[in-house]
């Protein structure tokens, strides 16, 4: 099996070198560039399997790079940024990036996010069952099991969980969830969502006040991760 090729787009030389070392030692092939245009060229010529993208680049910013990539292909993008404000994250997720890691970060966390992003995207029509750690979503029968025991969910709770399971490991923004489950008119009623998330957590978490599966990206959205994984 060939090693996945990761493209590092980062203008800081030291960070670029550290990332290269970390990725190589974790079993990835690495190419790197220090500019947005360089990134678009690299993607054209070397077809990497995923991109680690800094937002603040000297020529064109990360959002433009994302737009440029998304016009062409579907490869996973993880943003690495020192900007932690929610609106940057929301914009990035709405633009279709797979994950957003704020600097500074720990190597372990970054590698976990990369592994999650590289998992084969789930073809919706084909998948009848989705697994995320010990959470098992049986799509065809609309049933959910946690650690083997069935959990009774309402229709809405099931839709929310299904959506998060399809994008597992990835943050799904509030508006993406609201639009997908309730339709476009509800896209901004964020507070309703909290209530459903609370209910869902009470059903699928051991301790709803300290969730391990259904995590919050504060002010941005939610993410389903395998419990105690990574």
């Amino acid at each position: 099996m060939t090693r996945p090729l990761v493209l590092v787009v980062e203008d800081d030389t030291v960070m670029r070198r550290v990332l290269t070392v970390a990725l190589r030692s974790n079993g990835y092939d690495v190419r790197s560039t220090d500019s947005g245009r360089g990134a678009l060229r690299e993607i054209e010529t070397n077809t990497p399997d995923m991109v680690l993208l800094d937002l603040g680049l000297p020529d064109i910013d990360g959002f433009e790079v994302t737009a440029g990539i998304r016009r062409e292909r579907e490869l996973p993008i993880i943003v690495l940024s020192a900007r932690d404000e929610e609106h940057h994250q929301i914009r990035a997720f709405d633009d279709g990036v797979n994950d957003y890691v704020t600097k500074p970060f720990r190597e372990g966390e970054l590698m976990a996010r990369i592994r999650a992003a590289l998992r084969r995207p789930i073809a919706i029509s084909e998948r009848r069952e989705i697994r995320c750690g010990d959470v098992h979503v049986d799509v065809s029968q609309r049933r959910v099991f946690v650690g083997g025991a069935e959990v009774a969910l309402t229709a809405t709770e099931f839709k929310v969980l299904h959506l998060l399971a399809q994008s597992q490991g990835r943050v799904v923004t509030h508006s993406q969830i609201l639009r997908a489950v309730w339709g476009p008119s509800q896209a901004y009623e964020v507070q309703y969502l909290r209530v459903y998330m609370r209910q869902l957590r009470q059903k699928i978490e051991e301790d709803a006040s300290q969730p391990r599966r259904l995590l919050t990206a504060l002010g941005v959205g939610y993410r389903l991760v395998p419990a105690d994984g990574d």
């Binding site: 809405t156 839709k159 300290q210 504060l218």
Partner: protein
């Protein structure tokens, strides 16, 4: 009746008195001595002198004397001064009339002057009292205008000079004369027909502070009584304005000094606290760089862990500094979202525990906590700081506890530790900038709790330090709760395959 000569009316009245008294004397003549008649004559002269001006008195006196001479001094019904005694009596009459009239006139003038002085004193006192209570230059001007308009029954303006050399809010037609008075720095009368006005500079320590303009129906000189009153009023305005400006300047200086002091202590604290972890990181890294071949595995790992730990400490510090800068800016705009505290607490605890070697946290949250409207990352920072603070003060055996409860209209969160606690008298001080607990050994600029307070206050909440029952510190904050949110309806037509 239009008087052809000014004061003719009073002269005629005085003469009428004189003639009436002569008539009276003529009527009583058969029953009286000549000396009695002279007494009547004298009495009338005295009465006239008391009531009328010197001129009128002299006219009346002449008429009276001539008529007495005509009626009573032999030869009767003829004008003749036959003996020296009579002549002497008449001269005495004139002298008495002149003396009394002059004295009375002087008294009258004094009284008038006293009345004018009292009026001015009262007017100035009224103005002074009102000006003394004010602390704003604009209000001073407005009050002065009101007083001047009442005292002089004329339009008045106060034009303060702005730093860029214009008159604040001046009517265009007032600018030219105001400018002239300001340049001359003197009482300036403008006597254009139909537009009489008087302009005075408001004296300041270095340059005039502005100009006062008055548009009276009749212009008056600086030396007149009205002129004196106007100048006095303007002087009071000048003193009051100067006082206000000085007070403001003192306030500004105090504020600047305080800001400067804070900035300096912030800078020195920050540079110390930024450099300490950096120094550790550089020292550890250079040791590893040069000696990694000879160091044993455990030492290498310990040094590496130090580098990571110090780096994270640096990161926290920078986040806190950024937040306090933002929270202290006067125009802070919070990016508020409806926020579930259980989610924020969970995130903060998760991050805290990920940091390794952190004590465990017990979380106890009411099931149906209302939402709060807050900026998510600030709330998370608030909780992180409180956990960090608890861990630091409780030391190795720390047990931390977060409890969130719903109160009427608010949500209350308590973060408690089992450390030494905060002495009662210091509980208010812990939120002050650069406060560090007595005997606290390790880092922290003393900004953590200050930021907590700033975050809570920015969201309209309250924060306080308390004692934890059974020992330890407890920090409690509460935030206003949002109104109950109804559940979204279940989407009616079962939406098919969910396409994100």
């Amino acid at each position: 009746m239009a008087a052809p000569i000014p004061g003719a009316r009073s002269a005629i009245r005085a003469v009428a008195w004189a003639l009436a008294s002569a008539g009276l004397a003529y009527a009583v003549q058969p029953y009286a001595q000549r000396s009695d008649l002279e007494m009547i004559h004298l009495l009338v002269i005295v009465l006239i002198a008391l009531r009328f001006s010197l001129r009128d008195t002299l006219i009346a006196c002449t008429v009276s004397t001539v008529s007495f001479d005509f009626l009573f001094v032999p030869p009767h019904f003829a004008f003749a001064l036959t003996d020296a005694k009579n002549a002497l009596v008449f001269i005495a009459m004139f002298v008495v009339a002149t003396v009394i009239s002059t004295l009375v006139e002087r008294m009258r003038r004094q009284e008038q002057r006293a009345r004018a002085a009292a009026f001015q004193a009262e007017a100035l006192y009224g103005l002074n009292v009102e000006l003394a209570g004010l602390t704003d230059a604009r209000q001073l001007a407005a009050v002065t205008v009101r007083h001047l308009e009442r005292l002089f029954d004329a339009r008045a303006v106060v034009l303060m000079r702005t730093p860029d050399g214009a008159f604040d809010g001046a009517d265009p037609r007032d600018v030219e004369p105001a400018e002239r008075a300001w340049m001359r720095r003197e009482y300036t009368r403008v006597d254009a027909p139909g537009a009489k006005s008087i302009w005075l500079p408001i004296a300041g320590i270095r340059a005039p502070l502005g100009v006062v303009g008055l548009m009276p129906p009749e212009s008056f000189a600086k030396e007149s009584e009205q002129g004196f009153l106007l100048v006095a009023c303007v002087n009071q305005l000048a003193t009051a304005t100067e006082r206000v400006l000085l007070t403001n300047a003192v306030h500004r200086t105090e504020l600047e000094t305080e800001t400067e002091r804070l900035r300096n202590s912030l800078l020195s604290a920050v540079s110390h606290d930024l450099k300490t972890p950096l120094a550790t990181m550089i020292a550890a890294a250079t040791t590893l760089l040069r000696r990694h071949a000879t160091l044993d595995r455990e030492t290498v790992e310990a040094l590496l862990a130090d580098i990571v730990g110090e780096g994270e400490r640096l990161n926290e510090l920078i986040l806190n500094l950024l937040s306090i800068t933002r929270l202290e800016s006067p125009t802070i705009l919070l990016r508020r979202l409806p926020q579930a505290l259980d989610e924020v607490v969970a995130e903060a605890v998760l991050r805290f525990e990920k940091r390794g070697e952190s004590p465990s946290v017990r979380v106890n949250i009411d099931a149906d906590l209302p939402l709060v409207s807050a900026e998510p990352l600030l709330l998370q920072q608030l909780l992180s700081n409180l956990l960090e603070n608890g861990a630091r003060h409780a030391g190795g055996e720390a047990v931390l506890e977060i409890r969130a409860t719903a109160g009427p209209g608010s949500v209350t969160v308590q973060v408690a530790d089992n450390g030494p606690g905060i002495p009662e008298q210091e509980r208010d001080k812990v939120f002050e900038k650069f406060y560090r607990a007595a005997g606290s050994r390790d880092g922290g600029v003393g900004l953590g709790l200050t930021i907590c307070r700033a975050i809570v206050q920015a969201h309209g909440g309250k924060i306080a330090a308390r004692g934890r029952p059974g020992g330890g510190a407890l920090i409690e904050f509460s935030l206003p709760a949002m109104a109950e949110t109804p559940l979204l309806p279940e989407p009616s037509p079962p939406a098919e395959a969910v396409n994100a």
